[in-house]
């Protein structure tokens, strides 16, 4: 029997994670609901005036997305760690970084993409004009991608630790601050009718950087955690 | 001397800064030496326990 090629292995990993996610809808929906809840906290805390909410809509959307992604990123390795699949991946002989990339992509498809699609609804609730929706979705798409990448490193490092989720936030959030700065700025510009190309391009650059560098780092972290 | 203490009306800001710096510098040395002493104690105790057994 021929050994499995690396791209086929990556595809299999991607497909498996997707299938598993579809079987556990509840787990996947939780970050999404969390996103909605956090976004709702802000009008409740600050007052219902849409004009005021519009001024902070960019930041609110991004903070809510950040926290929701943090919640969701634990799904990346935890199940595999518990049932032993992770060890199989480690000894499979396939390049671990590529498998991590595939798993990360599956995770984004299941956690990040729905959040991006839900965002215009939440944005409207915060007073953002429909014209800004394109930028809202693009900014959050790039952002959730960056967060999946950074989150992969964080969850690989904190695998199996007690209070790991709290630690995960402590580790990942500072690293995500640059993305937050530019992502929220992009949405704010769009809400005020200005072009958001600058911040969006920088966000894209950050995405490329994180997607390239995070899988090897996460792979190294996995080997360290799984021993 | 009063000029130095006063720091041109900014004394209340300048001196706390230097005091904080002194505290941090002192703390680092004290903590480092205490850690070393404690580690040394521990190591001696363990060596003694091993020799006894």
């Amino acid at each position: 029997m021929e050994p499995t090629g690396i791209f086929r292995a990556a595809w299999l990993a991607y497909r498996r994670d997707l299938l598993l996610a579809f079987r556990h809808w509840g787990q996947v929906a939780q970050p999404l609901i969390f996103f909605g809840i956090v976004a709702t906290l802000f009008p409740l805390a600050l007052g219902p005036q849409l004009a005021e909410l519009r001024e902070i809509a960019g930041g609110t959307l991004w903070v809510a997305a950040l926290l929701a992604s943090l919640l969701g990123v634990e799904l990346l390795f935890r199940a595999d760690h518990t049932d032993g699949t992770l060890e199989q991946l480690l000894i499979s002989g396939q390049p671990l970084a590529l498998l991590v990339l595939a798993k990360g992509l599956a995770h984004w498809t299941v956690c990040g993409l729905p959040l991006v699609l839900l965002a215009p609804l939440v944005a409207a609730g915060l007073g953002a004009p429909p014209a800004a929706n394109g930028t809202v979705m693009l900014s959050l798409a790039l952002g959730t991608g960056i967060l999946s990448a950074l989150g992969a490193i964080g969850s690989a490092l904190t695998l199996g630790l007690r209070r790991g989720s709290l630690l995960l936030g402590l580790l990942v959030l500072p690293l995500a601050m640059p993305a937050l700065i530019f992502g929220a700025r992009a949405i704010d510009l769009a809400i005020h009718g200005d072009g958001a190309r600058g911040p969006l391009l920088l966000l894209s650059a950050m995405l490329v950087l994180s997607v390239t560098l995070a899988p090897p780092a996460a792979a190294a972290a996995l080997r360290i955690s799984a021993e | 001397m009063n000029d130095i203490l006063d720091m041109g009306r900014y004394g209340a800001f300048v001196w706390p800064c230097f005091a904080l710096a002194a505290i941090v510098l002192a703390w680092n040395v004290v903590a480092a030496r205490r850690l070393h002493a404690a580690a040394r104690q521990q190591a001696l105790r363990r060596a003694a326990a091993r020799a006894a057994s």
């Binding site: 630790l161 630690l167 | 800001f13 300048v14």
Partner: protein, 245 residues
């Protein structure tokens, strides 16, 4: 060229002894430089034309900020060496450095905030440099928390090392982003009280303080390193003979 002396540095008993001998060579010069710098900065240097005597805070603020970043870089380099070449002592250096760096980050923030009160009127401003220092403090906290949460020392060392390296790669990105964010939102009046333009007789005490603080870190690191070695090599044979000396 005989490299034995270099390879021997990776040996814990050797490093333990050498560190003991090196401490005075760092500590005494550090003390002298800091005292000289303090005298030069507090007594000799003239008051700044814009900030008056308040600018003298720079003589502790700038060295702490410098040290906060220098120590992080050292920690990350040590972490990388530990990961790549699997030298346990490198991880010990990283572990020893983290609390020291964090304390100076805190000092930079505190002195920066106190300096801000007479200059900007409030105890805290989201100034680019202060915000960057704050994020650096979070990065330190992360590394220390991660190391503390893992019981197995080897795994703790290597996980913290990966995090330190990831952090150091992010540092320039964080600095640039925060700077951009700040210039975007900063009202014009704040820019007036940036770093004072330094004349020669204001500058030399600062350089002395910078060097003094750096050597001070060397001394503290060596002492902490000895403590780390003792902790890690608790049951090693060489320890019994060494401690009997």
């Amino acid at each position: 060229m005989n490299w034995t002396w270099f390879h021997k540095l990776a040996s814990p008993p050797h490093a333990y002894r050498i560190a003991a001998r090196l401490v005075p060579w760092f500590a005494w010069p550090a003390g002298a430089l800091i005292v000289a710098g303090l005298y030069g900065g507090l007594v000799l240097a003239p008051a700044d034309y814009q900030q008056g005597d308040a600018f003298r805070i720079v003589y502790v603020h700038a060295p702490s900020a410098w040290l906060s970043m220098f120590v992080y870089a050292t920690m990350a380099v040590a972490a990388a060496i530990g990961l790549v070449w699997r030298i346990k002592l490198a991880h010990a250096v990283a572990a020893a450095s983290a609390p020291v760096g964090a304390s100076f980050t805190f000092l930079a923030l505190a002195t920066g905030a106190i300096w801000g009160k007479p200059m900007w009127g409030t105890w805290w401003v989201w100034d680019a440099r202060l915000t960057s220092e704050l994020i650096l403090l979070f990065l330190y906290a992360g590394v220390m928390a991660l190391r503390a949460s893992i019981d197995d020392r080897d795994r703790a060392d290597r996980a913290a090392a990966v995090l330190a390296v990831v952090g150091v790669v992010n540092l320039p990105i964080i600095h640039y982003s925060v700077y951009w964010w700040n210039t975007l939102h900063q009202p014009a009046t704040l820019t007036k009280f940036g770093k004072p333009s330094m004349s020669g007789d204001m500058l030399w005490p600062l350089l002395l303080m910078l060097l003094g603080f750096t050597l001070y870190y060397g001394a503290v690191l060596l002492i902490r390193l000895r403590a780390e070695i003792l902790k890690r090599e608790r049951d090693a044979a060489w320890l019994t003979t060494e401690l009997a000396r």
